[in-house]
Amino acid sequence: MEQQRGVFSSRVGLAFLTPALFFVVVFLLFPFVWIFYLSFTNQTLTGASALSPSFVGLENYARLFDFDRWARAGEFGSALWITIQFVLGSALLGQAVVGLTIAWAFYRRKGLLREIVFTLAVLAWIIPDVVVAFAWSAFLDYEQGTLNAILGALGLGRPDWLFRYPLISIILFNTWRGSAFSILLFSSALETIPPSYVETADVVGASAWQKFRDILFPLLRGHILTDLILITLWTFNVFTPYLLTGGGPTFKTEVVSIYIYRTAFKFFEFGKGGAIAVVVMLINLTLAMGYLAMLRRQKASA
């Protein structure tokens, strides 16, 4: 591999990079370090511990992992379990599968049908959070919502979605919201596969499913991993469900990002909020490392 040539000296390069370094250090590295420190204190916003927080050791962590309580509604363990279901449902089963299916359905196909589906998916993806949450709250409305109007007309019953099936609702919502990323990633990956690969299989009469399983899927494996890394991390941290359900009813949709928000910005317990954030970041880090290791193994074997 030829190493890329530098046009400028390192000093000039550094000058171009300085503003970005400032932002990265102050708004990315610094919070990362500070939050570790915070999680060992009893920092609050008001009161005595706001001005001079004291060191409390592992107390915040002990409160999180108090196993007598942690599985109760509104506690950390419950939030974690809800998040896991949310990520599995909306990122892996939802966005990745929807993305792959749609990208594959429109593989080697141009034209209006593809344009319609892609445009609608991208719209769902780029319209502001609050707007889509509002639209969905109307869509899922028990009495007047469009979904129940359709289901009712088909004679399939009219459940009160946000009350009876809150977790399923936010999983559906997040799948709808984020699938465009996977659709675009997979279809641009598919475009890089030379048509001759599939045409060779066409000639010997392979079925569509065989072509997908034997040719396209193996070639996409790296992209699928990349996609999974990103959407898992994003879904783990996403806050948008709050705008639809507020975490309720009775904490049934309180994923950890909402739990942190409630702890830190409703009750202003920064120390405890910090401890949750640390645990979440460690989980994220483990996920990212795990995926990266898989990606490396996949690249090595390819």
């Binding site: 919070p31 705008l243 954030a277």
Partner: protein
Amino acid sequence: MNRYESPLARVGIVLFTMLAASFFALPLLWLATAPFDARVNLTVHIPAELTLDNFRAVFQNSFAVRALLVNNLIIAGGAMLTVATVATLASYGLSRTRIPGRDILVYVLILFSSVVGGTAAMVPLFLLAYHLGLVDTHIGVILVMSGGLLPSAIFIMRDFVDTIPRSYEEAALVFGASPLHIFRDIAFPLVRPGVAVVAIWAFVNAWGAFLIPVVLLRSPHNMPASVALYSFYSEAGTPVHTLVAAYAFLYTIPVLVLYLIVNWRFGFRFFGGIKR
């Protein structure tokens, strides 16, 4: 040239398109009709009586108008300028200097920003803003947002910078141009499409942001439209849904327009993960 396709496959793809299109379109449809509906209703239907009264009512609410036309423009505009400038300089510097392992560096940065992003990072960021006296200021919101958007912006920008042949700049170097000359006369004009894409991307992200402003801002007259809209439909007793829909509609228009511009000028290519 069209490939041969069996009639069954043709019917299949049409059905599939209908299914996928309704999945993505149905939740949004109501938002397109409700603002023009004289009667409050939550079901998608063609309004019996069209009206612009809802918009008129929105414009009488000075809190809503200020949020949309002043606060949102300041925040999104500020984040756009900051992110586009800093990301352009940084990706150019990265691309044109020999820095060992810089490709890994950008990936790590992206991953890191995903790991640190979200609510988890809001706790220290809030305290940081608090100690710097930036709570309840637009500057604070702009800076914190820019920090979060930068890694992805650099990533997108690199696609553009890396397409400029090095010989362009090497020629200029041989002819006696300084690094600043080269950036101004050659690199910048050539990456302008990239700058536009990153700027629009940053604008759209900042325009829609909710969490950062709701955490960092206090007073109602500083709040952007996202927070205003949220308070309209979540807090105030029973909201008048058609009014709120009209506001949501107005709030969404710039995003749609910018999307159309990008689509028309550059084709909505896949810029290594536009939007997070």
